[in-house]
């Protein structure tokens, strides 16, 4: 972690206190509040940072992730754009070419489709195709995943699609403190970053106390949430919380190492490999469809690097290879704690 002094406090409604031991200023946030706070701090620090997207201005975004930014920074830093995803992405690319640090928001992951061409065929390729002459430093913020009883195309998990595209970085933090450090890192990154925000955990009832001053968490580093010796449980996004719930239901003599990827691309292979070489067992949990999902890649990495360490086959608990159902059935579709728990027990019993 690197730390620098932050500007004046944003969003006075948040509870704040000073850490007794470190003297560090702390602020209590949920995930979405942490993202808004970070955006404000980054915009304070760097005039080049601008936010654009549908309803991100006066309305503060449909999830309120940009709430208060328009009031603070005005209409020349926070733009309500036309309803036009390819337009948002393409214009953001141009802004980046023109020396700005744009943060386009795509309202839901399902609406990345129209912007796919600009993101994949231009943003991702520009450094390579111009041999470094033109680069696209931009952070594409996208709420992602299911579980909020939303309409069609508001609940998908397409992270593997974007992780498969060279030239893009893909990040998906699931805690307020990780989001703060990773968003700051993404904004200062010289390359395009897709910043997926698991909407299901935007507003968990339990907030987190986190350091208010600016800090960054390097893109590409997974986080070991609980250390363990018997089995490695790998997840990311909202599914991490199902994994945590599952841990509570498991017998105490099963020692699970839970890893949150945090960054989807580039993958932190070393952390995964070291863990599975230690435990010899692995379960991967994700919301996205199972086949050709990120779990398949992780499983293959483990096979390449941990073959002789494995005590059981790598298991995947994932979404099904179907269209994401409407919300009446979404909880049946999504991985849940009991499935994760069952996968862990089966793997242990192999």
């Amino acid at each position: 972690m690197t730390t620098t002094q932050a500007h004046a406090a944003f969003n006075p409604k948040l509870r704040r206190r000073t850490d007794d031991e470190t003297g560090q200023a702390l602020v209590e946030c949920n995930l979405v509040e942490s993202i808004t706070l970070t955006l404000a701090q980054e915009m304070d620090l760097d005039d080049r940072v601008v936010c654009l997207g549908e309803d991100v201005g006066v309305n503060g975004g449909v999830f309120r992730a940009t709430d208060g930014l328009h009031a603070r920074f005005g209409g020349s830093r926070v733009f309500d754009t036309p309803l036009s995803e390819s337009g948002i992405m393409g214009a953001a690319i141009g802004l980046a070419m023109g020396g700005m640090r744009p943060i386009p928001e795509i309202q839901f992951e399902g609406f990345l489709g129209p912007a796919y061409d600009q993101l994949v065929n231009h943003a991702a390729r520009y450094r390579t195709r111009s041999r470094g002459a033109i680069t696209i430093p931009m952070v594409v913020r996208v709420p992602v995943g299911g579980g909020i009883h939303a309409p069609e195309l508001h609940s998908d998990s397409p992270e593997a699609i974007y992780a498969h595209q060279p030239g893009l970085k893909v990040v998906m933090p699931c805690t307020p403190s990780d989001a703060k450090g990773l968003l700051a890192a993404a904004i200062e990154d010289p390359d395009p970053v897709v910043f997926f925000e698991p909407k299901r955990v935007y507003r968990l009832p339990t907030r987190e106390w986190l350091q208010e001053d600016r800090y960054t968490i390097p893109i590409g580093q997974a986080k070991v949430i609980t250390e363990g010796t018997d089995l490695t449980l790998i997840s990311w996004g909202a599914s991490v919380y199902q994994c945590l719930e599952a841990l509570d239901t498991l017998p105490e003599d099963i020692s699970v190492e839970l890893i949150d990827l945090r960054t989807i691309s580039p993958l932190d292979r070393d952390t995964l490999i070291q863990s599975v070489q230690k435990t010899g067992r692995c379960v991967i949990v994700h919301e996205a469809p199972k086949t050709i999902g990120l779990g398949a890649e992780i499983s293959s990495i483990i096979q390449e690097h941990c073959f002789l360490y494995l005590k059981s086959p790598v298991q995947r608990v994932a979404g099904f290879d179907t269209i994401m159902p409407y919300y009446k059935l979404e909880l049946d579709y999504l991985p849940n704690a009991s499935l994760v728990s069952e996968a862990v027990r089966q793997t242990m019993a192999y």
Partner: protein, 371 residues
Amino acid sequence: MPVRTVYTAKIDHIQIMDEHGVVDEKLAHGTLSDQEVLELYKYMCKCRALDETAFKLQRSGRMGTYPQNKGQEAAAIGAGYALQRGVDWLVPCYRENAALWMHGLPMHYVLLHWMGDERGNQIPEGVCMTPLCIPIGTQMLHATGISWAFKIRNEPKIAATFFGDGATSEGDFHEAMNFASTFQTPTIFFCQNNHWAISVPRESQMNSETVAQKALAYGMPTVQVDGNDLLAVYKVTKEAADRARAGGGPSFIEAVTYRLADHTTADDARRYRDPKEVEAWQGKDPVIRLRKYLTARSLWTDEQQASLDEEAKIMVTDVIRAAEGIAKPTTDDIFDYTYATLPPELEVQKRTLRTHSLGQYPEQAALSSVR
């Protein structure tokens, strides 16, 4: 009154120099001096010479697919000359080479691009443009964004983007126009209506009478111009540039021109074009037109032409030598520009390709001893 007219519009077509090289002096006033026209004519001839040679390079197997610019030089040069080199940005497709060269792109870069070498896109420092854009119409949004950045920072610069008539069918065209007019960015949308999107004629591409009228939907000043008329293209582009620089927002220009060659060297336009149509447009060739104009004004002689042709030949030889003389890139180049900092796995893959190995990790191979 239950019915009332809420909107009416008209589109002007501007021509200053007709196909015989005869000029409307009144309209020509304040555009380009004789000396400027003379210099631009010489430049146009050189660009044509390089374009013709590039075609031959492809035919002789020394270069990959190439889209000839032939016939569209006045549009590119007239527009390019109206913009400030090193200040304004050009956001091209691939049929305005002359404008790119005029704004400082080394001529052999274009050949490098079509020779399958990304270094042709490595725009030098201080040269303000994006590389050639192969997908259709996607680059217009970048021009909107670039000029939007100028507006945010209050810089008196503009971005001009170039595209064909077919590109105006793409969604991105409309999104770029809508963004530009909504945010009043200093952007010029310059359509080279060359009548053909590969094999589909403009009339089959759209049902609108003109391309220019599409800009009306975005509340944008719009004009149709004879795209083979250097003076007229310069005049309308200069007006659009002045307006944009003064904070007047984006403009649209439809330059009516004609693709005298095939779409690319991989195309055979005889399959779908009437030779009579091509012949008629050959009579409107911008190079011939300018020569007639200069000759009539006693500014140009056959001797001067012969000397220019010789000069062009030498220049073309030099350009080809520069393009062909560059050593093949190393395979490291495939990896080194994927990100600013190469992730560890790409370091491994880079070594893999370099050594033609299977990409086995040393530590993994050592596992045999663990067993």
